[in-house]
Chain length 217, copies 4
DNA sequence: AATGAATGAGTTTTCATTCAT
DNA sequence: TATGAATGAAAACTCATTCAT
């Protein structure tokens, strides 16, 4: 009878879910913490509190602060890639597809600012962590693959010139969207422009114009 | 004989008891420290040691770590602007000038990596410090002014279309040069490209091509 | 056998991992430290060592040095009031009660020198801390209330004149007991008198004589 | 001619005065600093700034912080004794003289608060410094001597009882005036009385009443 | 699986004091 | 006589990490 009660208390299924959920809560809190304060500025204590767990639990799951950071960085890529899956370029004309890609990228960076902040943090650290994340290369942005097919479609249709490397072109797209979002604070301080969301979206439009001129056959 | 006197009079390396020089040494060490480790990761102790002074002296001159950071950020802008003065666009044709500007910007970012790193650090902090540096707006990049005159020359000569805002165009230039340098570590980890100096310079060339297409009348 | 189990179960001296006890140990050590060295002279490190805890624990519980000081000041009042509860004046005649009060006060000051020293420290600081301790007024010495009833009894019995304010009279009592204890060191240095415990007790007797003359109807 | 100019510049007399004046300025600043912040809380830097001299000069004159403290403590006694010289009791009747002494003492403590604060500071330190000031005993308050003659006059006139020790009586006077001034901050925090200057003066009057009852034949 | 209690090893900051002129 | 420049030693305070239950 006692045993029964014990079992009733420690039902295996919900416990396991709790553990997995705790991990996820920690990961989310870590993502916010590291992207807000950077690697050194992040506080393990705050991560635990915001995740609603105790510090020893966090250490049990991840090992140490650096491991939490690595997991958060990986999580950042995972989440951003999940978002990218929602973009469908195949149903658009090559030119519309390019414009859609640029607009999407700008909105993506704008709406998930923690991603840019994690990249900045990681680059300040010299990229040591991302290099150690095993499958990094495998997770290469799906956008590049979709972009490759758009460029091919455009070249076949004779509207784009051939021979444009999709990775290098994607670097152009990313550059034009990344910088105005990433550096919004210093830009605002130095230039007298109203750098708000509308401005960013207009930048994306202009960038798309320019990129299309560059691609034109 | 002369050499001997010179040596006797001023030992070359440790010219001590010179307040202005000490300040400058601290500033330089701080610039390196903050751009290498970020705001939280920077260590006042290391700054002092690398400047060859004691910590109390540093505190005497600047007040606290944040004040040293603010001074280093300002110094970053001062030094980068000094470098920009060396670029002469007036003797070039408008089209050559644009290309030169892009190449210069890329080289500038590449060769003074502490500048990009300071900007990243400051943007991670939310730009609170640069907003407090009084004359930030006044120190607006000279490049923008030079660019303005190039665009005007080009428009007058009929080779560029009119109405291109120099600030917004400069944001394009900066974006295309900033991102590949700033994010070199994460790019390398994710893409299978040999991202070295030569690659960066080729990127600048391609970017110049694209920007000129965008400007063309 | 029992003894053995007892010992095995709880080692007597270092009962660790008891938050409330740790707090109390810190408080006691702080009281001693601040009353010995004053506010600026007190060392957080010494408090921690004497409490048998680490500095971080102390900071965890109290926040900063000033907060420890405030808690110690409050503790001083708490402990002194606890001592005052042991004085019973109701069973004595009014005149005996006054004499007992004076003797008790003198002994109290003499035997709990940290109290006077805390008051001196706090008054040197301008009383900013005690003003912030919320219930300070509420903890007003019980002695005043007991004194009030003694004065009333004496007036009703016709041995004391009426209309003597108990607070102001208590200030007389405290003055006459406080000064010789508080200033014993400077008094010794300036006057050629053997200022020892016996002297203090004789002072209390004389003071009681004087106070009774003052109260006499 | 040159020599003459030199001599004119370094006139000996005013230089010497400057040195003595600097010493005095330091002493005054030290008195204020130590009585305001206590021994540990006092800052050598502030003393130098407030005295209008450099720190090395201060060290040159006094040696170290403790020596400055000792000098300031001595100066406190010197200045307070100078004030006491202004009190003339010989022209008053014994009873009036006692009342005048009490009022004077209260006013003295009230108007020179740095004296009480220095005494508190020194007593917190255990009186080690005053013991080392050589002529401390010699500088014993003149008030005691004047009081002695008043008590004798009163005894001879039959208005005071004989055998009252002037030192011990003076301790009564000092106690009654010292405590309400010294402890004004904690008293205010604990008791609901308007403890202002008028209150202090009324306390002195009541104290004089009581002391006279005690002296009466 | 989970956590309240606790700390070693730093990190920033302060301060009495000295150096060099 | 006088001081701006400089610092060793120590103080307050923090933070990643572990202990004991």
């Amino acid at each position: 009878m006692r045993d029964q009660m014990k079992r009733a208390k420690k039902a295996p299924a919900p416990r396991r879910r709790d553990a997995e959920q705790s991990r996820q809560l920690i990961l989310q809190a870590a993502l916010e913490e590291f992207s807000t304060y950077g690697h050194s500025g992040a506080r393990v204590e705050r991560i635990a509190v915001n995740a609603g767990v105790s510090k020893p639990l966090l250490y049990d799951y991840f090992g140490d602060k650096d491991a939490v950071y690595a997991a958060a960085l990986k999580e950042a890529y995972v989440q951003i890639r999940q978002g990218e899956l929602q973009l469908d370029l195949d149903t658009l004309s090559p030119e519309e597809a390019i414009r859609a890609l640029v607009q999407f990228t700008m909105r993506h960076f704008r709406e998930k600012p923690w991603f840019i902040r994690m990249l900045n943090t990681e680059n300040l650290l010299g990229g040591t962590t991302i290099r150690e994340i095993s499958d990094a290369k495998g997770v290469q942005s799906v956008l590049v693959e979709r972009l490759r097919s758009v460029l091919t479609r455009g070249a076949n249709a004779g509207v784009f010139r051939a021979g444009v490397d999709p990775i290098e072109f994607y670097v152009f797209v990313a550059s034009l969207c990344y910088f105005p979002v990433s550096n919004i604070h210093t830009l605002r301080a130095v230039f007298d422009l109203p750098m708000d969301i509308a401005w960013l979206d207009r930048r994306a439009d202009e960038a798309a114009d320019m990129l299309l001129l560059y691609l034109r056959a």
